[in-house]
Subunit: 205 residues, 2 copies
């Protein structure tokens, strides 16, 4: 696999995969870069260029086999396996994540939930007993968790991230509206609704 593919291209692959999986669920077997592009608002040329970085997935004129291309993208994105995931924070967002049923078919499985609120620790959420955040390191060390989601208030997020990283986590999805500082070998993605909204208001009159 080439090493130097731009991150922006990697960022589009999960979007292609999601669209292909939807088409698969609709019972479709073949698609084209044109059709994918129309669904996604991305040019067909861009899609062909992105995919061509990883190999030849379609034949000229016959389009892409949906099932084959989905499997290839799953393999490239390493979601042809199931990643164990920890959630830290059992507020509204953590609850939403714990109850969300869109992970398991797409390569992820929630395996633990932590919170620091003593009123929540020990209670049930999404089939799990909420664990005490002070035990993050201890609990993760005896697990296979390398992916985590942070859904705690902004003021606590950096400390939580540091505990997760110490316990071996390499990929963090951060819902706290604050930037996290982690080592270069740890991947972080941020979800902050205000950031997304501000990116759109730029274009409004």
């Amino acid at each position: 696999m080439p090493k130097s593919i731009p991150d922006i291209v990697i960022g589009r692959l999960p979007i292609y995969l999601r669209a292909l999986q939807h088409m698969g669920m609709e019972g479709r077997q073949v698609t084209s870069s044109q059709e994918l592009g129309e669904r996604l608002g991305i040019s067909a040329a861009q899609i062909r260029k992105d995919l061509s970085q990883f190999g030849e997935f379609g034949k000229q004129g016959t389009g892409y086999n949906i099932d084959f291309l989905s499997k290839q993208l799953q393999e490239i994105l390493k979601v042809d396996r199931v990643w164990d995931v920890a959630i830290v924070g059992a507020g509204d967002i953590g609850k939403g994540l714990a109850n969300y049923n869109g992970f398991s078919s797409r390569g992820f499985r929630i395996v633990m939930i932590f919170d620091s609120n003593p009123n929540l620790v020990g209670t049930q959420l999404g089939g799990f007993t909420i664990k005490d955040s002070r035990l993050i390191k201890q609990e993760l060390e005896s697990s296979n968790v390398r992916v985590a989601m942070i859904a705690v208030p902004a003021a606590q997020a950096q400390a939580v991230a540091e505990q997760l990283v110490e316990a071996g986590v390499k990929a963090i999805l951060n819902y706290a509206p604050v930037n996290l500082t982690v080592g270069p070998d740890v991947h972080v993605q941020h979800i902050d609704p205000t950031i997304h909204l501000q990116r759109m208001t730029y274009y409004l009159d």
Copy 2:
């Protein structure tokens, strides 16, 4: 204002603004592209290049005045005003958004919440009475709402988006894990945790 600034640059401005506002809250007055870059994991050169597209915000050697640059970015992103926002969907995610207190200081104000579940319609959430989703068009037409967040199940999201657009909404933040098809004059951003997770697992061994 130049018209042709790449969307990827626009996408970084809210991240700069958030970091500047955090620094402001810490009582700081001046920063540099170096310091911002270290906080954000973005190169100082990239930050200088991005900002230079909009004018001269710092003097060589003296750095950026945090308050001044924040105000300029707010103006560029059009969040020097307050946008009224509607939420559709009062499940866990909608609840989290309704209760989130990070909007008002950053240019947005939730003004209505809709849901289609008769058990939720009429109940209170975040200081609002949840309205019936069937009334979206009617309620929005007598309002000033041009920005909305969709937090409904995937199967309902497209229909909700169409109602919002008919009622004049021009920017949609979509939490449903499905792509939305809207006209070219409507801006959509997607938040799907699985997409973000998959973008990171690519890099894991």
